[in-house]
Structures are given as structure tokens and as C-alpha cells.
């Protein structure tokens, strides 16, 4: 281990330093303090290690670091290369050789005070927390910290693309240095202490929840629900629970016993798993009759098929079928020769894999272990490749040929079976642009088998019964303020045209919040079924978020338990709208409803998820009769609402002269989100003063009676 000796200098532009202390409160080494005379930042160069968090977090760019980072080198762990590839599914990526190596790596962690790695992790694992526990050699404690946010640390530490998540967001990485090996440290914890089993609550939530699908989203949801004492029933189409990590991830990436571990523990904890039971989209309604809540976690399993001549010939299969068969052939439950025979090929045959993403790499590497030749083609430029760089390198090292800027133009069959593939060249100027296919220079390849591994899409049958899915992961034009404050958003995109680490992380965050919202009455969606194909850790985290939402809202198939919950959200500038909102809230509370009243800026997905009825109010902008509309901030907030899936909404506004079409515009905005407008009312600011608050009170009374009517109707109908 070598510590670089070069000095680091912290330069503060005193003229621009505003004394806000954003750098001071975050500096992991305590190298910054305030000058009490000038109220600007003072820096201690000797204490600085050059992580540049201050640079990234300073709102005015008043601080900069000169000199290299002061960081020990990251010790890489060598891969396991099978001496003889054929039939060897031994794990290729290894953990730390010993505790000393793990502790040395843990010592590289800065224990950042506003850790960007935690934001980079889709599950928001407390990474500095568990690394601190490793330093203390408290592996059980580290597991406890991990367990708070992840039920699959052993799986995630093996299959996560850490470079695009926690390690990509590590302060050292953002400073241009090698990040802490967070994934390997997480794995080390799971190697030293077993992942704790679910701790089932004795009190019992008394909710029956059905989960369709037993992938990572289902596991995450089932875990929290069973811990809270819910009766959880999981419906799985396959014979074995576990979803894609079990059937789709080769053992050399994820050993089978680790992939199955969560379900072993969940079944032991009392989760009922109904295997070999494929739930059709049309069965969702009938399942709602037997469960209080339903979580749809069916994944996105429809393979994308290229529309080229000859694709329907024999000898063309999809990645799912190949992966399932190959796994079984290699893990001893099946037989390689029979599998090859079922595919119509023999050892040494040439397999063309369409695509060069991570699934394609898995297919190709399994093919190599079955003694097949493997060639992957992808129409993207290698600079913008979607596969993990390490995965790509490992595949190539195992003899997989990967050709980028190539696409399949046609398949030519001989006697009904594919025999030749015609490949066209492509060009891709930037990551943002779709590659263009070039007409000339087609090449012909002899192939014996074609495997389609170009990605997956959602089952259209489920999309039709789940409004608003798949949701798009979005980053607002002005990203979340605390995320920007952390400095994560300041990191540039690694490849021009690609999303930066911060944008990726914040996009995943929108998926998480989307999971907290019921898509229909008592129906939640999580994982790939919600956002389209994504990652194991995202699905697991979304499943937990959906479970939390169910535990918060406590749905019931026999009626609404407890009082309906009303959220009054308002946008006020001078206080009039706030007063009206408070009056309405007070009236609702007086009628026994569970009420909260908040400015729109404080209302996020969580608050909306926990409300049965929304009452939304704003002042109207404009001058007399010109440009009269709901306030811009309110319009923006309404436009940013998630799908409301039939939620009841009442709208009101306050105005000076004439509200004109403000109420209609508000109603249209909420209706566009799938809400039902219960009632609407405009209040003249002057009249409120003149006649007391009778207007808002009568409006509130109407809202209350409609809410109670609906609540009663729901109970009766069930």
C-alpha cells in the first residue's frame, strides 16, 4: 500500500465564499472551519485528502482543490479462471482472501458525512455505517445495518453493477480515483455472518397480501410484510421460487444456494409460496376478493424479437429458454448432451447471440461452458455498450467473440433450420443516437443456433390492467435539492450523451416512489413490472417500498378500516389560501376524518400514497381578467403528480376579481392523472374577510359528506 506524498492545497476564493458552511459540515476529514472575522472558510491543507467533496457541494464554486488525492491504492482481487471451461460453473468473481485485505479496503472509506454512495445505492444501504462496523470487526452489527435496507445483500453484492451505483457514486470515484470496493465489502459481511432470517412480528398486522411473482421485488415485499405479521401468499409460475436470479443467472455469477436463500428463509418464516401457478392479468380482480392487497411483481419477461427475415426458422430460441436449460444442464439436475440435443446442436456448434448486454454475456458464457462457440453481435458502438465492462472482459477472456456495430439483417435457413446469418454494419455517433444501419458490406456467417438476447419488455396483458405502467424513471429539470446539496449531481456523465451517476440514481429514486403508490384500489406494482427491465436491487427496494405503503395504508377487502384520510395540499402566497385550507382541514377533522394539511412543496409521493382523499387548493395568478390561472407552482405540482388511479380529489382556489377557468384547469390536471373530482369551489379573498369562513366550511361539509358516502358505499359493496 502506497500513500501518495504529494501535497494538497485547498484554494478558497474569499470574495465568493458566502460562509454557508455546506463544505464545512460535509468535509469528512474536518479540514475546513469558519473564520470568525470574515465568516469565510478556512482550510487546513495538512488535513485535506483531496476528495473534493467541498468542490462539489459549494453552491458558488468558491473552493477548489489542487493536488492529487491522498488515498491508498485499491487492491483488486483476481478472477477465478477455470482451467477447463467445459462444465465448470464455479464462481468467477471472488471475495476478499482474508480479513486483513477487507480491513485494508474498509480503511479506504472516508466515512463521508453526506455519503453519495448511499444515494447511488438503489436500496440506500448505509454504506459508511456497515464499513464502519467492518472496521470494528463487528460483522453481526454490519449485517444488522445492511438488513435495515436490504434483504438480499449476498445476491446484490454479487450481481449489482456497482460501477453504475454505489461505487460510481463513491466520493473517490467522483474525484476521479478508484472507489472503495463497496460491493466486495458487502459480500465479505455476508461471508462472515449469515443474512438474518425475517423476524416475524408477534402482534400481527392482520392483512392478507397476495404477491404475484417471486423475483427480487416479491422477495423484498414478502420479507417486510411477513415481518409485520401479514399473511403473505406468493404465486409463482415456475416450480421453484426466486425468479430471474434463480433461473436466469448462471452459477458462475450467482451460486444457486445464494439465489435461493431468501425464499428458504421466507418459507421458514411462514410465507406461503404457491408454485406452478401462473396468474393471468385477468385474474387480478378475483385475487382481490381473497386478499386485502395485491402486489404485482411479475417482472418484464417478454423477449424482444428482431423483425428480420428468417427469424421464425428452427434453431432460433430466446435467452430465457436457453438460460433455464443451460443452468439445469450444468448444475447436475439435467444433462448437457440432452440439452444440446433439444436445441438441435452438438458440441462445437456455432451459437450466434443477438445482443451484447449482460443477459447476452450470460448466454454466451454458458454456451462456452457447454463447449459451444459463441459470437455476440450488437448494433451499438462499443463505446456506448450496455454490458458491464468487467462482464464483457470476462466473456472475452473465456473465448466469447463480441462484435459491436453489427446487426442481424436476415437469417437464411436450410431445410427449415437456420444455417447462415446475414449481418449488416451499423454506425453510432453518440450514445443518444440510435445506430444507423449501413446498406453495404453485409457479411454472411455460418451458424447452428441463434439466441435472442436483445432485452425484455413488459407483458402487455398486465400493462392493460395496471394503469400508468411501466412508469418512466425521470429526473426533474431541477433535481431534488438535497441530492444536489450532496454533490452527487455535480459529477459529469462518464460518456457524453449518457446519464451521469447522479441522474441514474435520481431516476431510480422516482421508480422507488412510484412503487409506494397503489396503481389501482389495493393493487401495488413493483420491480420490472413497474419500471420495465431494471436490476435486482431496484426490484427488491421497490418491493419493500410497496410493502411499506401497504402497511401504512392498511387496505381491507371488507371495507375501509378506520376513518378516511384526507390530505389538504395548498399553494399560498399571501396566506389567504392557507387560511382556507386550514379551515377546510379543521372542518374535516371535526367530522372525524383523519386530516393533514400541508403546503404543496411539502407533499411528496409518500404523503399522497397515505391519503384516501386529496383536497387541493391554490391562489390564482394573473391580472384582473388577464392571464388568470392557477398559480404556476400549483400547476407544476399538479402536473408532477403520480397516477392517482381513481383517487378522490376536491379542488378549490382563492381569487381577487374573477377565477375564470382556474378551477376547470385544476380539475383537468387531476383528471388527467386518473383522479375523480368530488367537488370544486372558488373563494373570493375579499368575501372571506367580509363574511367569515362560511364558504370554505360549507365546501368542506360537502367534501366530507361525499367522502363518507363513498366510504360507506365501498363497505356495502364488499
Amino acid at each position: 500500500m502506497t500513500i501518495l506524498e504529494s501535497p494538497v492545497h485547498v484554494a478558497v476564493v474569499a470574495d465568493r465564499c458566502a460562509g454557508c458552511q455546506e463544505c464545512v459540515i460535509r468535509c469528512p476529514k474536518g479540514a475546513l472551519s469558519m473564520d470568525s472575522v470574515t465568516w469565510t472558510v478556512l482550510a487546513d491543507d495538512a488535513a485535506c485528502v483531496g476528495c473534493r467533496q467541498c468542490e462539489r457541494t459549494c453552491p458558488f464554486g468558491a473552493i477548489s482543490i489542487e493536488g492529487p488525492v491522498q488515498l491508498a491504492e485499491r487492491a483488486e482481487v483476481s478472477l477465478y479462471h477455470p482451467a477447463r471451461l467445459l462444465g465448470d460453473v464455479g464462481e468467477t468473481r471472488r471475495g476478499f482472501a482474508d480479513e486483513a485485505a477487507a480491513l485494508a479496503e474498509a480503511d479506504r472509506c472516508l466515512s463521508c458525512l453526506d455519503p453519495t454512495c448511499v444515494r447511488g445505492c438503489p436500496a440506500h444501504n448505509d454504506i459508511p455505517g456497515f464499513i464502519g462496523a467492518i472496521r470494528r470487526r463487528d460483522y453481526a452489527g454490519a449485517q444488522t445495518i445492511l438488513h435495515a435496507t436490504s434483504v438480499t445483500p449476498d445476491i446484490c453484492s454479487r450481481v449489482c453493477n456497482q460501477a453504475a451505483q454505489c461505487e460510481g457514486a463513491c466520493s473517490w470515484s467522483l474525484a476521479g480515483a478508484a472507489p472503495v470496493a463497496i460491493g466486495r465489502l458487502e459480500r465479505y459481511i455476508t461471508e462472515r455472518a449469515a443474512v438474518p432470517a425475517p423476524r416475524v412480528s408477534t402482534s400481527g398486522a392482520g392483512i392478507s397480501v397476495g404477491i404475484i411473482g417471486s423475483g427480487p421485488a416479491g422477495a423484498g415485499a414478502a420479507w417486510d410484510l411477513v415481518e409485520a405479521g401479514c399473511q403473505v401468499t406468493v404465486y409463482e409460475a415456475d416450480a421453484t421460487p426466486g425468479g430471474l436470479p434463480v433461473w436466469g443467472m448462471p452459477d458462475f455469477t450467482l451460486p444457486d444456494e445464494i439465489a435461493r436463500r431468501p425464499w428458504v428463509q421466507l418459507e421458514d418464516a411462514g410465507v406461503e409460496v404457491v408454485t406452478n401457478r401462473r396468474i393471468a392479468a385477468s385474474e387480478v380482480d378475483s385475487l382481490l376478493n381473497v386478499h386485502d392487497a395485491l402486489i404485482v411483481a411479475v417482472g418484464a419477461g417478454m423477449p424482444i424479437r428482431p423483425k428480420v427475415p428468417g427469424i421464425d426458422a428452427d434453431g432460433v430460441t430466446d435467452a430465457t429458454s436457453f438460460l433455464k436449460g443451460a443452468k439445469s444442464a450444468l448444475d447436475g439436475t439435467g444433462d448437457a448432451a440432452s440439452f444440446l440435443e433439444s436445441l438441435g446442436v452438438h458440441a462445437g456448434a456455432r451459437v450466434l447471440v443477438l445482443g451484447a448486454g449482460n443477459t447476452a454475456m450470460d448466454v454466451a458464457r454458458l454456451a462456452r461452458r457447454l463447449d459451444l462457440g459463441a459470437l455476440c453481435v450488437d448494433w451499438m458502438d462499443e463505446r456506448f455498450a450496455l454490458a458491464r465492462p468487467d462482464e464483457l472482459a470476462e466473456a472475452r477472456a473465456e473465448g466469447v467473440e463480441v462484435r459491436f456495430t453489427r446487426t442481424l439483417a436476415a437469417l437464411h435457413a436450410r431445410e427449415g433450420r437456420v444455417a447462415r446469418a446475414e449481418l449488416a454494419r451499423t454506425e453510432q455517433a453518440s450514445a443518444k443516437r440510435v445506430p444507423t444501419v449501413l446498406a453495404e458490406d453485409h457479411e454472411l456467417l455460418d451458424v447452428d443456433l441463434v439466441v435472442m438476447a436483445m432485452g425484455y419488455r413488459n407483458d402487455p396483458n398486465f400493462l392493460s390492467v395496471l394503469p400508468g405502467t411501466p412508469v418512466r424513471k425521470v429526473v426533474a429539470a431541477v433535481p431534488d435539492a438535497t441530492w444536489r446539496a450532496s454533490g452527487l449531481m455535480a459529477a459529469p456523465a462518464p460518456t457524453p450523451g449518457r446519464a451521469s451517476i447522479g441522474e441514474l440514481a435520481l431516476g431510480r429514486e422516482s421508480g422507488l416512489w412510484a412503487a409506494a403508490l397503489a396503481r389501482r384500489d389495493r393493487v401495488w406494482v413493483a420491480g420490472d413490472a413497474l419500471t420495465g427491465p431494471a436490476t435486482v436491487v431496484e426490484a427488491m427496494a421497490q418491493g419493500r417500498r410497496a410493502a411499506r405503503s401497504i402497511l401504512d395504508t392498511r387496505p381491507s377487502r371488507t371495507g375501509q378500516p378506520g376513518a378516511p384520510r384526507v390530505l389538504v395540499a395548498y399553494e399560498s402566497v399571501g396566506g389567504t389560501t392557507r387560511k382556507v385550507a386550514e379551515t377546510i382541514a379543521s372542518r374535516c377533522f371535526g367530522r372525524g376524518l383523519d386530516v393533514s394539511v400541508r403546503p404543496m412543496g411539502d407533499v411528496g409521493a409518500r404523503e399522497i400514497a397515505a391519503a384516501d382523499v386529496l383536497v387541493i387548493g391554490t391562489w390564482v395568478e394573473g391580472f384582473v381578467l388577464a392571464g388568470v390561472r392557477p398559480a404556476k407552482a400549483a400547476r407544476a405540482w399538479l402536473a408532477s403528480l403520480p397516477p392517482l388511479a381513481g383517487r378522490s380529489v376536491a379542488v378549490f382556489c382563492t381569487y381577487g376579481v374573477n377565477p375564470r377557468g382556474a378551477l376547470d384547469e385544476m380539475a383537468a390536471l387531476v383528471e388527467a392523472k386518473g383522479a375523480r373530482v368530488l367537488s370544486r369551489e372558488a373563494f373570493r379573498a375579499g368575501d372571506l374577510k367580509a363574511t367569515g369562513t362560511s364558504g370554505p366550511e360549507s365546501f368542506a361539509a360537502r367534501v366530507v359528506s361525499r367522502v363518507l358516502e363513498e366510504s360507506l358505499a365501498r363497505v356495502v359493496s364488499r
Binding site: A18, C20, D114, V118, A481
Partner: protein
């Protein structure tokens, strides 16, 4: 930030992880408490104009600054067009009349009374900002241009680049006799030059770096504006600002851009760099920013952080206005001609006497500070604590020079204002025939063309001397207060240093007033 989690109902355990686990992993240290650092400069809570709901509504409106800029923008593009295409008679050309007879004088009134009022409505910065933000008033997020920061080497000198730009622009104005009044087209070219350089700066640098560092008027408005009665946008509750997790006023929020002027309402101790644009007010998620008024001269007297760039700006700007007074005296033409003849320079003003004259006055200010120190300073006095940057570091010289220069700001402001009065009194009425001329009505024979608000030289001199008397009295007061607080500990006696500082202000006031008498209302 853990505190924030507690506020949201965090009671430990697993629940909070599941709701939003990020706050749990945030362990930022508590910000240092500024204690009484801002006690003298924080305006009284009752002086918050934004406490009025109508004002609040206006400030929250995104068109607020656009509507301030728009009329000026129209006028200045008219100036450019009419200066180039209109009559060559300066007094009858709208460009010359509005720019030099009215606008310049109004700017000084605004800076003395308000502060950076002009900056809020400036068409130069406004135009650059519209282009940079690619909108007239909307909250956009991806600025056009390179969007780079002003380099540290430049930034560390604060307002001194702006002083240099003002000296250069004034020399150009004198050389081409733009305001003299010369050819109206020259006014257009000058305005175009400013618009062009502003636009280039806005396309290269981020935010209002142009206004903060480069704009020729910025240092003058910033320093003289300290006399103004508007404190700017300031925090309502500093604890809320200190613990704010977003700092949207600096980084930008959904409704407002981050401060274009690099000012944080949570630490502003004067109106020096508040451009009154209201973006922080719009961006604040906690409604914790107000628009405060203050007693006139507060931003001269109260700040505890005295900046060397401001002090040198005062000295140099004083040098410039005194130079302009001296060059109006009859003997100066001979000096300038003599220098031109010996240096081969074609015409007035010779750069040597221009730079030399300004430097002599500025150095005389430095010398005066040294003299005050020699007269009343304690040799055994320990230097006050200070930072290490150019703007903040201290020395025996700076410990007197910097506060004394703050003290004389009113006399410098009055001097600039008085300098503009002859043109205003003699020619301001020409704006009416100049406007009429555009429609074929105004001529050089029209009554308003030949009318003056104050026609006699003695009348103008009386007003100028009156302005200087008021400025001098104000400067004596500020010098007295500043010396009493900042210099008492460095001097043999508080009263002695106060009298000496006020005496310096008086001397400068008398000298400049005498110069106005000698100038005989020359414009």
C-alpha cells in the same frame, strides 16, 4: 440532517429506514454558530417589505425583474438605433439626450437612495441574462454558453476588475468626447460595446459574473450604493438558513435561480452585492427571506467584514472623479497638451496624466490613511484578526486605510452626483424636443431645447456645493462611527481618531467643493 429525520417523526428503529433511509445515513456536523457576527448588520424584523402580502406576491412573480428590465431594454435599443440613424445634432438626438443628460444622473440618485436598484433593471445585464437563460422570465435549467466560473486569480480581487473597466470606459468616453456631447453615434457604439461585452461574458461565465466582476458600473454602484436605504434580500431567521438542507437560494430551486450575484441572504452583511433580482426570495423553500430596508448609510457603517477591494475601489473612484474635476480647470488643458506634445499622443486625455492623476489621488488617500495612523495610531496595537486573502488580510497600513475608505464613501458618492448636475440642470429638458424630433416636431429652436432647469452657473455651483456639503456631513458622520468602532482599539484615543477621521472627510469635502467653485459649472 439527523435532526431533520427526528422532525419527521424518527424515533429510531427500522421504520425510518423503510420510509426514506437516506437521512439516517447523513451525519453532517452541525454548522458553526456565527454568534454575534451579524448582530450589527442584520436589519430589524419590522423593516421587511416582503412581510406585506402585495409586495410578497410581486416578488414571487417571475415577471418581476423582466418588467423592470423591459422599459430600459426598449430605451437602450432605441438609443443604439437613434444614435446611429438619427440627427447628428447631439442635443436633439434622443441617444445623447437620454443617456448623458438624464440617465447617468438618475443612476446616481438610485444608487444613493436605494443601492443596486439600477442593477435590478439594467438592460445590459438583463439582455445577457435573457440569452444565457434562453428565456425572458421563466425558470430554466440549462444555461446557454460555456457557463464557467471566473478564475480564482481574477475572483480574488473582487471589485477591482470592475474599477479598471470603469476607468477604461471613462477614458474612452473622454477620448471620443462621447458625453461631451460629441457625435451621437459614438454613444450608440459605446452602448453596443457594453452590450456586446456583457453578452460575451454571459456566454462565457456562469450567472452574473459580468455584473459581479466586470461591469464598469458595478464597483461604483456597489460602493456608493452602501449609502442606500435598501439592505437587500436577507434572512429572516439565520438558524433556519444555517440548518437549511437545500440552500436553494444559492443553488436554485424550482421557482427561482440560484443567486446570480454570489450572495447568500444568510450571510449578507451589506447591500454590496445584492442585485435585488428576487431570485433567492423565489427559490427559498422556507419563505425565510425578506426584502429589508435600512437606515441610510448602514451598509457603510455596520459591516464587520471590511474588504480591501472595496477600500481600493473607493480610493480609485475618488481619484477618477477628482481627475474629472481638475481636468475641467483651464490650466489642465495646457498640462495635457504639453504631455501629448512630448509623448506623441494625438489628443486629450493623455493616458499618462489620466492614469497618473487618478493614481496620485488614490495614493494620496493611502498616504492620508498612513498619516492618520502616524498621528493617532498606537505603535503597540495588535493587528485585528483577519483572513489571508487579498480582500481580507490585514497589515498596519490596511488596518487604517480600509476603514477610513469606507468612511469617506458618502463624500465620493456626493462628488459623483454633483459632477453630473451641470449636464442635468442645463440640458435635461432637451429630452422632450429630442423625443419630438423623432416625430418631426422638436428643433433646436424649440423652447425646451433652450431652457435649463437651472441656467446660471452660480445656481448650479450652489447646488453642487450643497450636495457636497450634505455628502461631507454624511461622510464625517460615517467616518466618526467607523473610526469609533474599528480604529479605537488601534489608536491612542477613541475621540482623537474619530476627530481625525471626520477631519479627513471634511478636508476631502472642502477640497472637492472648492474644485466645483473653480470649475464654474463646467460639464
Amino acid at each position: 440532517m439527523v435532526l431533520q429525520a427526528e422532525q419527521e417523526g424518527f424515533r429510531g428503529g427500522r421504520e425510518v429506514y423503510l420510509i426514506d433511509p437516506i437521512p439516517v445515513a447523513i451525519r453532517t456536523r452541525a454548522p458553526q454558530d456565527p454568534g454575534t457576527h451579524f448582530a450589527l448588520t442584520d436589519p430589524a424584523p419590522g423593516r421587511d417589505l416582503a412581510a406585506n402580502s402585495h409586495v410578497a406576491r410581486l416578488l414571487r412573480n417571475r415577471k418581476f425583474q423582466f418588467l423592470l428590465i423591459l422599459p430600459n431594454q426598449i430605451i437602450f435599443w432605441l438609443v443604439i438605433g437613434i444614435g446611429l440613424l438619427g440627427t447628428v445634432v447631439p442635443g436633439l438626438n434622443f441617444a445623447t439626450a437620454i443617456t448623458w443628460y438624464v440617465w447617468f444622473c438618475l443612476v446616481f440618485v438610485m444608487m444613493v437612495v436605494v443601492g443596486r436598484a439600477w442593477c435590478a433593471m439594467c438592460p445590459f445585464g438583463g439582455f445577457g441574462e435573457w440569452v444565457q437563460r434562453h428565456t425572458f422570465f421563466k425558470r430554466t435549467t440549462k444555461p446557454i454558453g460555456l457557463n464557467i466560473k471566473v478564475p480564482e486569480k481574477v475572483g480574488q480581487y473582487g471589485f477591482l476588475i470592475s474599477v479598471g473597466a470603469f476607468l477604461l470606459l471613462t477614458w474612452i468616453e473622454e477620448y471620443f468626447n462621447i458625453a461631451g456631447p460629441g457625435n451621437p453615434a459614438a454613444t450608440s457604439f459605446m452602448v453596443l460595446g457594453i452590450v456586446g461585452s456583457a453578452l460575451a461574458s454571459f456566454l462565457i461565465f456562469e450567472r452574473r459574473s459580468f455584473c459581479r466582476y466586470i461591469c464598469p458600473l458595478s464597483s461604483l454602484i456597489g460602493t456608493v450604493g452602501a449609502m442606500g436605504s435598501v439592505a437587500g434580500f436577507r434572512t429572516r431567521d439565520r438558524d433556519v438558513c444555517q440548518s437549511c438542507a437545500t440552500k436553494s437560494c444559492m443553488r436554485g430551486g424550482e421557482d427561482g435561480f440560484g443567486c446570480p450575484w454570489y450572495t447568500w441572504p444568510g450571510s449578507a452583511d451589506s447591500n454590496l452585492a445584492c442585485g435585488l433580482c428576487s431570485e433567492c426570495y423565489k427559490a427559498c423553500p422556507s419563505d425565510n427571506i425578506g426584502l429589508y430596508v435600512q437606515t441610510p448609510l448602514t451598509s457603510v457603517i455596520a459591516p464587520t467584514r471590511r474588504r480591501a477591494d472595496v477600500a481600493w475601489a473607493v480610493a480609485l473612484l475618488f481619484g477618477l472623479v477628482v481627475y474629472q474635476q481638475v481636468n475641467a480647470l483651464s490650466f489642465f488643458a495646457h498640462v495635457d497638451d504639453w504631455l501629448n506634445a512630448h509623448t506623441g499622443f494625438p489628443q486629450y486625455p493623455n493616458p499618462l496624466d489620466y492614469v497618473g492623476g487618478i493614481a496620485v489621488v488614490a495614493l494620496a488617500m493611502a498616504g492620508a490613511a498612513q498619516l492618520v495612523r502616524a498621528l493617532v495610531g498606537r505603535r503597540d496595537a495588535a493587528l485585528p484578526a483577519a483572513g489571508s486573502s487579498f480582500v481580507d488580510r490585514t497589515s498596519p497600513f490596511r488596518s487604517f486605510f480600509v476603514p477610513l475608505m469606507y468612511g469617506i464613501i458618502p463624500v465620493v458618492g456626493a462628488d459623483y452626483f454633483a459632477r453630473q448636475l451641470p449636464k442635468f440642470f442645463q440640458h435635461a429638458t432637451r429630452v422632450v424636443p429630442a423625443v419630438g424630433h423623432l416625430f418631426g416636431a422638436g428643433t433646436t429652436s424649440s423652447a425646451l431645447y433652450n431652457t435649463s432647469i437651472i441656467g446660471s452657473n452660480s445656481g448650479i455651483i450652489t447646488v453642487q456645493v450643497g450636495v457636497m456639503a450634505a455628502g461631507t456631513l454624511a461622510a464625517m458622520y460615517t467616518s466618526w462611527r467607523v473610526a469609533g468602532r474599528d480604529l479605537a482599539g488601534l489608536s491612542t484615543s477613541r475621540r482623537r481618531v474619530q476627530v481625525t477621521a471626520a477631519g479627513l472627510a471634511l478636508a476631502l469635502g472642502v477640497i472637492t467643493a472648492v474644485l466645483y467653485v473653480m470649475m464654474n459649472a463646467a460639464d
